[in-house]
Assembly symmetry: D2
Homo-oligomer: 322 residues x 4
């Protein structure tokens, strides 16, 4: 998907596709008129490489970030940096002093509806933010088991997007997290010592309260809502559908389509805007819109939620560096 988006931009193109499996690299490359290689160093040293987009399996991110940074190539890396916070801290250390722009792939920040909520809050349109409610439920069914095993669990894989959304809308840090979770959807999650359903409450530095609710399965599509309530009003980002059709009959009226199915459909425009934003940043001198530190802090919130759930107590956070 990412390669296709780049290929559609007038001022960018995909020059190389990397995969450990050269055949897969070649297939991806062919679709966008690029070259393929399974030798990352060759690619990073190539003259026609201005920047790197990392959308490989999560456990390869840190290595690819470090190599790309060493090569001085600006990076757009899919979230999360890693499911292991200690590896993220090591990566952060290793990057210290390097001046390579790294943008984290929190695509939802580029959704026009969510973005309008953040803008309304930042502009003071609803006064001081007091309550923030994020609903975020995947359509399921659960991914293949190997993906579930590697994903780091609900809090690191799914809720991490919501933690980032909370930080994005709040414009400040979260200092306390309490998570209550359950196994309601599929036995596979319990087998993996994971959960599939969760409710989280959090407190921000300034005292705003935040709620996130997650499920691994809906019947009606990808449920993605953000509601910001403040001293002078409320602004909401509601769900998206494939059309604006409504149906009226003896059983129901004003019935709408099921929601857009999942992230590929729901955030198609956001992915494109994210990549556009990265391209626009290159050579502009400005900092990335979403930083490595944003990726780290969202993961710290995932860790805090997981600990809260496991120890059944609220967990406080501070963000001083290691």
């Amino acid at each position: 998907m990412h390669a296709g988006i780049i290929a559609r931009q007038a001022d960018a193109r995909v020059t190389w596709c990397y995969d450990l499996d050269l055949g897969r690299a070649a297939a991806a490359a062919e679709a966008v008129g690029a070259r393929a290689s399974s030798d990352i160093d060759a690619i990073l040293g190539a003259e026609d490489v201005d920047a790197v987009l990392i959308a490989s399996p999560t456990n390869t991110h840190v290595d690819l970030i470090l190599r790309s940074a060493e090569a001085g190539r600006p990076i757009l890396c899919e979230k999360p940096i890693d499911v292991d916070l200690s590896r993220v801290e090591e990566c952060r250390e290793a990057l210290r002093g390097r001046d390579v722009p790294i943008q984290l792939g929190f695509n939802r920040r580029f959704d026009p509806s969510h973005g309008a909520v953040r803008k309304a809050v930042a502009d003071g349109e609803i006064g001081a933010l007091e309550l923030l409610v994020i609903t975020s439920r995947d359509p399921g069914p659960p991914p293949p088991r190997p993906i579930l095993e590697a994903c780091g669990g609900l809090f690191r894989d799914t809720s991490i997007h919501d933690f980032d959304m909370a930080r994005f809308v709040l414009g400040e840090e979260i200092v306390e997290v309490y998570a209550m979770a359950a196994n309601r959807v599929d036995p596979v999650f319990a087998e993996l010592d994971d959960v599939d359903t969760a409710m989280i409450v959090m407190r921000s530095e300034s005292g705003a309260l935040v709620h996130i609710n997650n499920s691994r399965r809906t019947t009606y599509g990808y449920d993605q809502r953000v509601e910001a309530f403040g001293a002078t009003g409320m602004v909401r980002s509601n769900n998206h559908r494939p059309s604006e059709v409504s149906r009226h009959g003896a059983a129901a009226t004003a019935a709408r389509d099921p929601l857009l199915h999942f992230f590929i459909e729901r955030y198609a425009d956001a992915y494109e805007a994210e990549i556009r934003d990265f391209i626009d940043m290159l050579g502009s001198g400005r900092a990335p819109s979403v930083t490595f530190e944003d990726g780290r802090r969202a993961l710290m919130l995932s860790e805090a939620a997981l600990r809260s759930h496991r120890e059944n107590r609220p967990v406080t956070l501070s963000y001083e560096g290691a």
Copy 2:
């Protein structure tokens, strides 16, 4: 229904119920603690009669209006005055010089949603009115045949409410009418030389255009909408439902209840407000909110629509007295 509403008011009560059939009068009277009679003159002469509400069969309206007016009793009469315009003109002549308040029962004027549209137009909230679209569809099935035979047909029985609504929102007269009609719902209408489905376009004095569409049958409840479009905006009165519940599943999302079934349910509050308004008018010195002349002009529009449909040509109107 009307008697029950009066019985609920703190400052009014039903003292007499009249029906040619004394048994029915007595039943109605008992429910609200009133007396019953089949002698209208006795009732009109009774000391405990301050005003008269006429909700009898349409062909009795003119006679009851005239008798009540002779007795000096203020009148609230259900629409229409009569299905025969010449009888309405005779009644108008006979009332000339009498100073008895007569309020016509165009209940929809008292609906808060429609009333807000009229107010927005009158207040200039949407600038000069340019297009007015009225959707008005009964849930059906068709009433018993004797009622259909006496009702005067679609334009005099149903569309008349929409003609009045148009005049109410416009705040000015309609000068031209074109009606296109069809038989789509039930053969009984064709047998009665009536229609069951219609689209009407009209022009107002100042040049605003008006559309009404009618059907004798929906599957989803009573469809009652008013849309006023002007130079600076649009205001709409949308449908009402028994609850604010929405349902979301694999087949549909945001599905709402069927609409309120028919006029008894949809306009329950409007009927009460209409009677409240009549009671408040009594002894206040102010004129009725809806006048005999409003009833006459709405019927003139019904006649014009019927002639337009029969002669398949636009029909112009002027409202000079007989």
Copy 3:
């Protein structure tokens, strides 16, 4: 309000109004054609008293319940039973063995929109309930300080309705509560050692998760929503407005009215249905729809939330009798 509702019922009337202040009792009585007294025992012994509706200050509820029960009069008592759980337990003990029906005034259970959510859950329409989200925000400004001082604080005064709503929709008990709260609205709440903003998460016996968010102030009316998410779908009870009008202009489209202002407006029909239900129960032999025990358990949840907030830890509950 309650007296007016009773007065409108065909099969019930207010015969006595009680108030410690006889003048106030007389004023209330006059409006509904009842007699007044400041002697509760005289009233409870009167022949024309079939049942008692208690809507007095909260700290008088227990005494009035006990006296009415001794007199064998069925009781409809406004929530809460008392703000002090130990008094509720004493009252419960004192009532043991008495066979007098006591209905608690959780009016929201009688709202058609919330009721439809509960029915959908009970009917299995959305499969096993997994997430329940209750939004409940008062329009504010804060009530007069004496009322705030006596109300028992946010959790006992406001959230208690939401705890009852949760139990109503769940159809089972809540076993764990965590509350995070804040002072965001008005300094008066902090002065009273109270909070004005809260987020609560809870777990039910069967493992469903529940979230409640509360605020003492909105700018847009009384925000009252219930969202039930289950294995096969979602059903929501959304907000109510005074009309169905929408406005469309250069700044916004589909703009609706502010919400109904507060509980008097929003739950007008629910109050009437609640009293209707109580009247229908009298002499029917069936148990009250909302019981003393419902009132006790909702208050236990208020206490648990308050303790959770104060001790900043999740609190578990069991409902064995004292």
Copy 4:
């Protein structure tokens, strides 16, 4: 816009851009990597030309259609074929016997919301169609005067899309048209003997009734709605907005964004789908989805509406060839 869309397709590319003004042709060509020419015959004879997309001024359409057809090149031509029906008839004659696919650019047929309405009707989802209401209002302000002078007036320039939409949803022909029109928006329209506001009613072969309302100016964006009402239900295509955000405050609740501005924004996806459909048709052997005859009949409805408006009478149509 069209060239950019073609450039984004994997299986098509723009090889030549034609404009009488070679500079403009060159600019367009450069943006998509094509060659430019002001010699249409050279282009039509070029080996790398498989098909022709005509988006030139309306008065050049017929000539370009005929030349392209002579050259055997399949054609996608923007609506209308011409504003002069006699030229369309001549073109039709000249094309007789030629087997070149010609697709007319009624882009709205490719909108997913409108398409779902047509599909619902065609599938019998709402039973026999009885009423069809099309709302179609441009945001204005009026285009530059030279464009207005050449566009053929409201009925040929704007309503023509709605006539095509009516035929598309009906799946049958329209046999009678009555148009009532007015000048409400801008004096320029009256100066050009044109109108800017219109209401049209029409009857289909099978007896369904159709209403269209048009305005040249709204304040709230491009208002594009289609409502199909049938024997068993209703389906609607509602307006589109740039986001799903809603705003809630003291003045209004659930307030949405203004609608997408105009056809470029509203029908961006439809234009892409239209061109996709044309490309897919090429070489497939199937007929175009929208035909030359569709273009002719929509224009015949425009002519009928104009005559109805000018002669103030309903106009009947038959579609036998010249």
